[in-house]
Symmetry: C3
Subunit: 497 residues, 3 copies
Amino acid sequence: MDRDILLGIAFLCGTWPALGLAAEDPPLSPASRDCLECHEEATPGVVADWRRSRHARTTVQAALAKPPASRRVSVGEAPEGTASFAVGCAECHTRDPDRHPDTVDHGDHRMHPVVTPADCAACHPVEADQFRQNRMAHAHGNLVRNPLFRDLMDQAVGIRSRDGRSLKVSDPGDATRADACLACHGTEVRVVGTVTRDTAQAGEMTFPVLSHWPNQGVGRVNPDGTLGTCSACHVRHEFSIAVARKAETCGTCHKGPDVPAYPVWSVSKHGVTVKSREASYDFDAVPWVPGRDFTAPTCAACHASELADASGRVMVPRTHRFADRLAWRLFGLPYAHRPPQGPDTTGLRSADGLPLPTALDGTPSPGLIDPAEGEARERRLATVCGACHGTSWVTGHFQKLHHVIEETNRQTRTATGMVQEAWARGCARGPGQGSPFDEVIERRWVESWLFYGNATRFAAAMSGADYGVFAEGRWWLTKTLQAMSEWLATCRARPSR
Amino acid sequence: MDRDILLGIAFLCGTWPALGLAAEDPPLSPASRDCLECHEEATPGVVADWRRSRHARTTVQAALAKPPASRRVSVGEAPEGTASFAVGCAECHTRDPDRHPDTVDHGDHRMHPVVTPADCAACHPVEADQFRQNRMAHAHGNLVRNPLFRDLMDQAVGIRSRDGRSLKVSDPGDATRADACLACHGTEVRVVGTVTRDTAQAGEMTFPVLSHWPNQGVGRVNPDGTLGTCSACHVRHEFSIAVARKAETCGTCHKGPDVPAYPVWSVSKHGVTVKSREASYDFDAVPWVPGRDFTAPTCAACHASELADASGRVMVPRTHRFADRLAWRLFGLPYAHRPPQGPDTTGLRSADGLPLPTALDGTPSPGLIDPAEGEARERRLATVCGACHGTSWVTGHFQKLHHVIEETNRQTRTATGMVQEAWARGCARGPGQGSPFDEVIERRWVESWLFYGNATRFAAAMSGADYGVFAEGRWWLTKTLQAMSEWLATCRARPSR
Amino acid sequence: MDRDILLGIAFLCGTWPALGLAAEDPPLSPASRDCLECHEEATPGVVADWRRSRHARTTVQAALAKPPASRRVSVGEAPEGTASFAVGCAECHTRDPDRHPDTVDHGDHRMHPVVTPADCAACHPVEADQFRQNRMAHAHGNLVRNPLFRDLMDQAVGIRSRDGRSLKVSDPGDATRADACLACHGTEVRVVGTVTRDTAQAGEMTFPVLSHWPNQGVGRVNPDGTLGTCSACHVRHEFSIAVARKAETCGTCHKGPDVPAYPVWSVSKHGVTVKSREASYDFDAVPWVPGRDFTAPTCAACHASELADASGRVMVPRTHRFADRLAWRLFGLPYAHRPPQGPDTTGLRSADGLPLPTALDGTPSPGLIDPAEGEARERRLATVCGACHGTSWVTGHFQKLHHVIEETNRQTRTATGMVQEAWARGCARGPGQGSPFDEVIERRWVESWLFYGNATRFAAAMSGADYGVFAEGRWWLTKTLQAMSEWLATCRARPSR
């Protein structure tokens, strides 16, 4: 066979890489070529991972030349000097060196190890801007700077030691917080010094010493002051849209009993269909076409991705502000509630003066979206459902969800009433007297809403069947309420203090 | 290259769809063409999903022309007027309109939204008939019309509110039941009215209003009176045999601690082998050949599928009556027992007068299969094992399972003796005096057999290793018995009522 | 098209098997041909599974001809008489018949059903030798011959029955042990007799009767006295390196709350990346190249596999002694500790005279590796990390892990102090007086280190995020300590015995 036929065949078969007949990869910038000179050997996995990425196989120019519907960059024109090069190491790690406190001299370049959303914004400004308005970007501060939530964290992970006849709770320390809650919520990464190391490739080199590093939390506070890290979902260094669209990616943080989105989805018809059929799906297509590219949605399909029908008509636009299609925040604090208006929730104050989106009696705090906005968001989500489900189906589904929100909130009221009675009777020390999260009755109260109320609602939202009953739902919720009631009976029987 | 060569190559490579060189898809019936005219736009995901299905790519005639061993329809000849068409929307959604109470006028057609096993039976009568005799088809009635089981459901999911110093259990309401137990067991779907909506494609249209809709429970009661829905496993609208053969599909309902078949399988050698190798399996082949099409079984391989060896010799025939290969019902109620003879279990009465397959002392109720039938079923299952395991292996496996059934039943006897003593002493109210499922000691009793006895047996049946010990098995079973024993000691210490 | 072009195309497309154009499979030995004559029919799944294996598709000679870096056999030359044949049934099942007590006459051959590491060593001697020095190979004896661990097993799985007003714990029996702990730790398989069966293919045949069979535990004691079974990970009869490299395989045994390596990995960035991208990975390549063959590691990549960079430079050599890259044994007994020096841990004695790697106050027992060796092992593991992570990242990661080891060990000290006070006060019977694992306070103590301490450490080791907090970590650890403290208060309030 002559070479043309062979090439034609190989291309058809997708086997050309196996022939060593490399496609024309775009050129690298001189700076990125410098990086590879050492890093092919220094961090071969990073380089090989990046070689698989779209960044390595295209130029910004080529990306901009695509029709708008399938364009993956949102900038108007290529950042200066980058248009005709692949997006290599230097394009991200040497961008704007002066605004990165972690910048160091590194060979002939000024390099910063911590790439931040500000760097990604060079080509993806719309996404970076939306993400800044996304509650997840504020996950660090929303936890750490809310005195109640911070107390819950410190009670959950504080070190217990014996102190005479009782247990003492000591500060867990920053390393424990970073390993625990802040693994997802994000640490605060600061430059705390420099260190000089001997490297095999370039002799002595100086590197920044970073606090609470490594961390891939979605709400990480970066040395340059930006919030979050795109690689929390677009995992380094392939930065793949396919990875971000897989439910597993969301599952890193949304898997525990407090926020069991991934396990619930896994047992839902959506999850089992994806798990059964994903080998035939196209997770990389832009736009993403329900029924053609996938037959059941992952998290991204419902909450983030731009979806279009086969003719190219856009059904919902892409968003990196994930509450855009959410009418409710199922995550009870302690009650499920309308989403807060802004991404920073530290300013919320409930009617009873707590930094919570709902008062202890369930009254929503000021600063949440209003019902009209909630309904608009639900209609937006219903548009996604409508790709595969008729109106009766979708309406019935949301009616059931609303019922379950109300049902579980009622039982949070029951649980809260019991812990309040315990506080009033002096059997436990409530807000103002001590931590509301450190005593037996209080921890059961937390479990009732944080684990079992949440799990029941997530199950209702995604039709997670048994997740709402025996696996992590109502069986445990009602059992917990019963245990609280028994505990309260012994409290009442005690002589008053 | 000339076009023939190109086509030949493209066909070999499986790349012809990418060339836009569509294979000859079979013609659609005029009615189905009408459907697509609007629904390509109205529900694009459904249409695209269906286009991936075998239904869209073949005709009943072609399906009937296959040799018996690889035939996927069980009807003798094509239903009238369908032989030469693809199986499109209308073939199912307009079949026998008069027997479907949810039929409405819809454009020029009379359409029913709820397709039922009676519709599928047009081409798959043997499967529909077997499924009718399958206990799963009766899952709704077997739960809801058994007063004891219904009480267990209502205690598990009933709404708790405070009533003076105690907790009141209120009726959970139909929406909660539908979201909880009936998500799997199936709701009762009835036509409760009609609604008129303005549609983008066809202006005002009238639709039936359905109770407890949507629902995909395997025991759903349909408007036409049939039981179950084929799409519980052959997920809409691809209706794929591959999806039904994946363990994830069964896992939708068989995943919680009461019936942990999926998680147990997942940690078994069978499960891990499938998870490791499934990319190389053929989940679509009929018949299905162990070793060639798959190297470790999913649920379907052992309990449902027709299996043959590579020469075509059938080892076990297909069944949609899933107890056909089951000698035992591991699911204890409260004891593991021989499967009931018929699929409707509401008529069972134990020696102590309860609507249970076993009395509280473990005596099997009348109406279960006899040991000879049990042994015949075990031999049938052993035939499947025999494809990959020698006789010593298989014999040893079942001996161990029998031992574990006996071991766990003995401990259910222990637990039941304790709750009975609590009832006798008046520390709890048992059958006849109140719900046997609402008090602390009673819920522990339920957990001992419903969660930990079951999990231990499922682990033994599938060699699920740690699932029978620390994950969900004996550690928790013996811990629960110990907690019951301690509770009983405090009961005994109380002055008698 | 002429046949050559067709073949060329088919080869390129990987479709040649579909054409029935079989590659030249190597010849079978006459003995293996004899086996297939009956077993194609007797155990078709086994035969078909083996046909997919590398064993069926290559000869020892061809395997030896590969360059060292990609060679999959470690023997110097082919075992006598096998060089030019595929590795078929007889090559393993009739090897060294006299050293296998389970050998029986089987047709014209002397066959043993239980293939052991001694058989595999014929071609893989280095791996067999390393595995013999691997702690896992000793998993049976390390559990069963350590009186404390054996007591923990028997308390966990012993049968509870009622004995007057208390619960009696009976010996669980060998079948229960085999189904429970020994499913992973391995049973002792002995020949206990013979049985004659009528076979469809060869009439009456005699087979050995084996005790505690089947079993696939990694520490199985074989009839020939060898330890372990290679097929625990290289699952029969495909014996695939790809399967052994999948995390699911390790997950069979490393999944429960005591040793949640698999679930923690699953929620880690490594796990979610693998789950998202594995369809594009090459799990079969030798050597294995990070970034090219996979972009995130499974268990094998970090703990066992030979890794090289794309130029072929070996980063770490293969090992079947899995502690080679482990500086710590995170699995607390009860404290996390340096790994024992040898694989047989039954000889360890703590300062307080217990057969444990650490005393009850946390002091390490003699016989553990020293810190220098620990640091060397950590550097070896860090080399693997270094493929994809810079030095700051890796250093920061291990610092956090060291902190969490210390943090959790401190809390094990707290828990142990409480159970010791209970023993001292006579509220429970400790070592010397009774089982230290059978009473309520003792089981909570066990859960504090065996479940929650372990899970927290595993989560820190693999960045398993929420696994170290709500899912199975600190929330439950601190809750358990609190429950122990409350229990102890009631103990103190009792009149002294």
